[in-house]
Symmetry: C2
Subunit: 210 residues, 2 copies
Amino acid sequence: MITFDDTFRRQLHDLFVWRRDVRRFRPDPLPAGTLEGLIEIACLSPSVGLSQPWRFVIVDDKARRQAVIEDFKACNADALRSYSGERAARYASLKLAGLEEAPGHLAVFAEKATDIGHGLGRATIPETTEYSVVAAICSMWLAARAEGIGLGWVSILNPARMHDILSVPETWKFMGYLCLGYPMAEFDSPELERAGWECRRATADFITRR
Amino acid sequence: MITFDDTFRRQLHDLFVWRRDVRRFRPDPLPAGTLEGLIEIACLSPSVGLSQPWRFVIVDDKARRQAVIEDFKACNADALRSYSGERAARYASLKLAGLEEAPGHLAVFAEKATDIGHGLGRATIPETTEYSVVAAICSMWLAARAEGIGLGWVSILNPARMHDILSVPETWKFMGYLCLGYPMAEFDSPELERAGWECRRATADFITRR
């Protein structure tokens, strides 16, 4: 039986504190096999009924990358139009994705039609398929950060467009588009990095006892 | 800037390999404050637009626990009826939750109506709210395992019943019910623990390059 000690637990806590959604990347390429290695780790994640519904598409093709960038720009412009005044100015000032600079592009999908697991645990909450894929992304995120690699999860994209651009099966649900690379800068305090659009932290306020 | 070394990365990999959905718990209580500590760690997770939509309900009340157990039994019986023959026999033999024995019961919800983050990142994919809560559960799961505490995520429950039983706001979406406690047994090999309903592992087969 494997156990973990206080030193590891302290470092694991540091990892949680310092994991970030990275949007500014250095242009250096990632070592060959980096994305595949992170995908292997992602595949160790929990999944409903062991259905392992995660599907990964490494996007190397320049034209497809450019199409994703164009879609992001369109969706982001739409989002900006939904804000006004001070908040619009604030939104416009944010850098919300590192798609142009990130050396690694990885699209992640959930296979809704998988028969692996024979539907176990999915009857009452079918979204557990998507939740399993989120678990995979989160494992990858932590593993990347432990290797000094930044990850940014881009959700400001049109899922239907991602299907078209990446030519994936109809039964795959778009979950997110991940940018990976070495981060441009790190701060001395995690709170400095957090300060931005919204830095209120929700902790014990939201624990309810019944 | 904080960095991590090979020793930590190896242990982190072990943690991913050995994290399990635990369904057999020893009856020993968890030390006071354990659940609150794990919730604090969960709150370090990524969330869309920093919206932190996770909501936690510690369920100590005996009558409510019993009502959850009854709902699980009903949903599990429904699920069993959906299988036939060999597969039904196999399903019936599985222990799918440790609700009766687990000393810690924690229900987790997603606040769909939160204004924190002002909708940032949620316009194109509103489910990113739920995905943020999954991220929180996954952090908690790893942190628990690092402390030698097992966690089992129960999804064989009726979300509407969970609302009634736990009297939570209408805008909270039920995400999962977590059983926590010290695991009854650990095996020498993670694959031994995996062998069960489905032990096929999906890894590089599902990497597609475009």
